[in-house]
């Protein structure tokens, strides 16, 4: 119950925080948009190598980037 409340509060907080200004302006996103800053520049290659490890190891999960775009639009 308290875990649920915590999650909900956190998300409402994130959602309701319209007064926090982004400290990296959209036009300052040039370096972040560079492919060398991508966690997953070549998805086919990264996916293959991750499977090579997953098949041979006991651990699994929480791999791969979840994204973050160029901040356009």
């Amino acid at each position: 119950m308290s875990a649920r409340l915590a999650c909900l509060s956190l998300l409402l907080l994130i959602g309701g925080c319209s007064s926090i200004e982004p400290w990296v302006q959209p036009y300052e996103r040039d370096r972040l948009a560079d492919p060398i800053m991508s966690f997953d520049r070549d998805p086919v290659s990264a996916g293959y190598l991750q499977k090579v490890y997953d098949i041979r190891e006991g651990a699994r999960g929480a791999t791969g980037g979840s994204g973050g775009g160029c901040g356009c639009n």
Partner: protein, 386 residues
């Protein structure tokens, strides 16, 4: 065995919530769909006595303003015999084909992805479905993503027509990506995976001490619990250096209810100051503890209610190093191709197993040296963006 009920409730809730959000809530800024691309890759793995090679092809194309579709085709052709196969004398040779398709839907800052994966080999059939929703918030400084994967596999055994088992998988993933400075981006991810069904390998055997056997030990089949739940949490970061290069680091902690815990650390450097070239180097360190019921050598037959001798569930450490080169092919667009590159990636992976003993060496049972493995992995691929 009853499937967890919440699994059935949460999936509709996720899909319904995502659709409701995308349709009802007025959208502010918009993110962009992933690039259109075609990748053709040849992969080659050679290590531990086996060789796996084959092609992997990926195509992604935007349809209209809001949709992007992706298809992937991958084949593994496996030859040779691994340490498990050599020492228990049951050979098998395989070809595995995997097909996957997914569709992305973009509305405002929300990206919804649905995908299916189908994997086939002569004694294993895997099917899975995945859904992911990504939400950009804080002027796209932060991206929250949630995903669910539902898998259902059918397991057979070569040479035994009557053998048929199932494996069901559910996994939930939560990710957070944050722009920290104009040069630094960080991510946090949690994933919990739950498997039920036949979780071991139908060919693998465990060994136990047997004075009557020629080598002092005999074999019997593995026996695993029918349920496994695991949690993983990972943090990663990528930093852009003052020149055109970046460094990245990652740490993942894994723990499951079989008693296995593992730490994964990766650090890497990407260098792109030479025109048209991108160079990558990466080092990965992995260490794992054994499952509670694992043993290299049981004292007698049926010593425990669960028996495992899979080296992948044993205590071991692995180091690997990666070198990659990417070369930009075109100066300017050619026809419908906007960009193209040719890439070569080499990985060298080593693993040292503390307790899993190398049975190719004849010794007093239990005194054989620990097994070591080293593998070369090569990938050669072309990428075209259009």
């Amino acid at each position: 065995m009853a499937k967890p009920a919440f699994g059935r409730l949460r999936l509709p809730a996720l899909v319904g919530g995502a659709l409701l959000y995308g349709v009802v809530v007025p959208q502010g800024e918009a993110a962009v769909l992933p690039d259109d691309r075609l990748d053709v890759l040849y992969h080659y793995y050679d290590g531990g006595g086996i060789t796996v090679e084959g092609p992997s092809v990926l195509v992604r194309k935007q349809l209209g303003e809001r949709f992007s579709v992706q298809g992937k085709y991958h084949v593994d052709t496996i030859t040779g015999a691994s340490i498990d196969v050599i020492t228990t004398a049951s050979e098998y040779r395989e070809e595995r084909t995997e097909l996957s398709a997914s569709v992305d839907y973009l509305r405002g800052d929300t990206l919804l992805s649905l995908g299916v994966v189908s994997s086939d080999e002569n004694d294993y059939k895997g099917r899975s479905f995945n859904i992911n929703i990504s939400q950009e918030v804080f002027a796209a400084m932060t991206t929250i993503s949630m995903g669910y994967v539902r898998g259902s596999d059918e397991i057979g055994r070569s040479g035994d027509e009557t053998f048929t088992e199932e494996l069901d998988r559910h996994s939930w993933r939560l990710g957070l990506s944050q722009v920290v400075t104009r040069n630094l981006v960080a991510e946090l991810a949690f994933e919990t995976i739950s498997d039920t069904g036949f979780l071991n390998n139908p060919y693998r055997q465990v060994r136990y001490l047997d004075g009557d056997a020629p080598r002092g030990y005999a074999f019997q089949s593995e026996l695993y619990p029918r349920r496994r739940t695991s949690n993983a949490v990972a943090m990663r970061g990528r930093y852009h250096l003052p020149y055109r290069a970046s460094v990245h680091a990652e740490y993942r902690y894994f723990v499951d209810d079989w008693g296995i815990d593992a730490h994964t650390t990766r650090i890497g450097y990407t260098h792109a100051t030479v025109p048209r070239f991108i160079f990558d180097v990466q080092y990965r360190y992995y260490t794992q503890g054994a499952a509670d019921f694992w043993s290299d050598l049981y004292p007698f037959r049926d010593a425990q209610n669960f028996l495992a001798r899979d080296k992948e569930l044993s205590r071991y450490t692995s180091h690997s190093v990666r070198f990659g080169t990417s070369y930009e092919l075109f100066d300017s667009p050619i026809g419908f191709m906007a960009r193209g590159s040719i890439n070569l990636v080499y990985d060298w992976i080593t693993a040292d197993y503390a307790d899993f003993r190398d049975l190719r060496v004849t010794e007093t049972p239990g005194d054989e040296p620990g097994y070591s493995l080293s593998a070369n992995v090569i990938q050669l691929f072309f990428s075209v963006w259009f």
